[in-house]
Symmetry: C2
Subunit: 301 residues, 2 copies
């Protein structure tokens, strides 16, 4: 079986599974919201096993991937490149993955100023590309000096996020807070916390996301994603759950059904985007990961 | 209508409502867990509009209240009093509300030592009384000097909670972490965070709770309580949601249906306990609050 045959078979399998179980899924999970429950998969630029952007997009289209998540670094210089490459394709820019300098909770004013100016450049470019938003982490553990984790800092963060969110809205996009696992970013570790910061930032331009890798921090994928809800959940990252490789590479650990159940109940209409490495042959493991996601999406009732 | 007639009418209304809607509720929410979904209401000692403990328990029995939540202070001296008073009644000790000296995240070793010894005395007494657990807050904002909110402190807290949890298990009870609103306790504000600390404490004696008053911090009552789940959710507090008075005193704000829906789906078999003041006539507002809870419990499908 060559690659094209593999894709055809995979696509038929998915369609067959959808025909069998979708009517029930639509009734039990999605009907209350009256929204479609389509799984919209996105790749980062490094996900597809190809060299050029055109080759990557061709590969993605064959697999039915509908989103591309570029890195934010120097995004303004690449707006035209992406616009040209996506013309006539069924692929849109999903979210933009960080890429700014500095960080928002920096104690050093010059580091905070770096963040402010570089983040705003990325937001403006993200808006031109029709992106759902720009992903950001308030502070990694290795970033210092960092403001202390206090009530006053939370208030400051909400005020700063409000400003960023309003700026993003003017550019028809958003800023997306990403909770990480505590070893990488103790400051923001859980989706419910990010969602509460969105609420208290009082700007429709402030959103949050869940990452199935970092969500090992959560006691329940389902509850975590529901806590963000339709109001705040703007993006989702996926990876294998033991080693952050392709979904499926960690066997039984790679169960996303409980989280997908939340997405379907919410009528989630944004992207689930790969952010992971790969330990084996991408030509096999990337399509297998996509198929695993589609199968589990159907199982999520 | 005298008070006894009011109780009879209220009880009949509840039974009627239960007959009409319980079969559906059992099927849609509780059947998967095969557990009963009974609303088990508890009062603190100050809730009933009576003077003596006997009068309070008589009043509670008439209203169908099945739990009593005493304060932890000097609990060891009161074990016999409670045991005598509860003999032959359909009321059990629910949780024990704090009452210890010091706090677990104190930087001052003598304050930490005060916590350790007083908390252990309360745990032992709670076990004698068959309590579900002893409620604790890791640190109120006003308590200082407090360990900083860092990854290292979280690790320390989990280690200390493990010790406490194992001690509680030996006494056939648990310790229950309570998240508060951020103005009272920034350190622990959300149920999902408390639940993750339970998990990482690696002791079946470490549990958590939700308080509908403090849960204004949450974006979703339903998601918050589900994040604790059957494994960690050991107690629930209730109050009106605008002013922390009797449920119902804040009108439409006092909606607990979304949270109750989570409790029913979990097959929650512990207590929902009043922790609130009262702005009006308790003889009217306490039974009305109980009735409101029972009505909303039935509505939670």
């Amino acid at each position: 079986m060559d690659r094209r045959d593999f894709f055809k078979t995979a696509a038929m399998g998915t369609a067959g599974a959808a025909m069998m179980s979708s009517p029930l899924a639509m009734f039990t999970s999605c009907a209350p919201k009256e929204k479609p429950c389509e799984l919209r998969i996105s790749f980062q630029e490094g996900t597809a096993p190809c060299k050029t952007l055109e080759e990557k997009l061709d590969y993605m289209e064959e697999l039915g991937i509908v989103g591309l998540e570029p890195k934010g670094k120097n995004l303004a210089e690449r707006v035209n490149e992406f616009q040209q490459a996506l013309r006539g394709r069924n692929i849109r820019i999903s979210a933009i993955c960080a890429g700014f300098s500095g960080f928002i909770l920096a104690e050093d004013p010059s580091v905070k100023a770096d963040f402010d100016s570089s983040m705003r450049d990325i937001i403006a470019a993200a808006g031109e590309l029709g992106s759902t938003g720009v992903i950001m982490v308030p502070a990694f553990n290795h970033q210092s000096p960092c403001m202390p984790h206090t009530l006053e800092t939370r208030k400051y963060l909400c005020e700063q996020m409000h400003e960023l969110g309003e700026y993003a809205l003017k550019h028809n996009t958003t800023v997306i807070l990403e909770p990480l696992n505590r070893k990488e970013a103790h400051y923001l570790r859980q989706v419910a916390d990010a969602a509460a910061i969105c609420r208290d930032s009082e700007s429709a331009g402030v959103k949050c996301m869940g990452d199935f890798w970092h969500m090992k921090e959560e006691t329940s994928d389902y509850a975590a994603l529901l806590s963000a809800g339709t109001e705040y959940l703007q993006h989702v990252h996926i990876a294998s759950r033991g080693t952050r490789k392709m979904p499926g590479e960690d066997g039984e650990l790679d169960n996303y059904v409980d989280g997908f159940r939340a997405l379907k109940q919410l009528g989630y209409d944004k992207y689930v985007s790969f952010e992971c490495g790969c330990n084996g042959d991408k030509e096999i493991l990337v399509p297998a990961a996509v198929q695993l996601m589609r199968t589990q999406w159907e199982q999520a009732l």
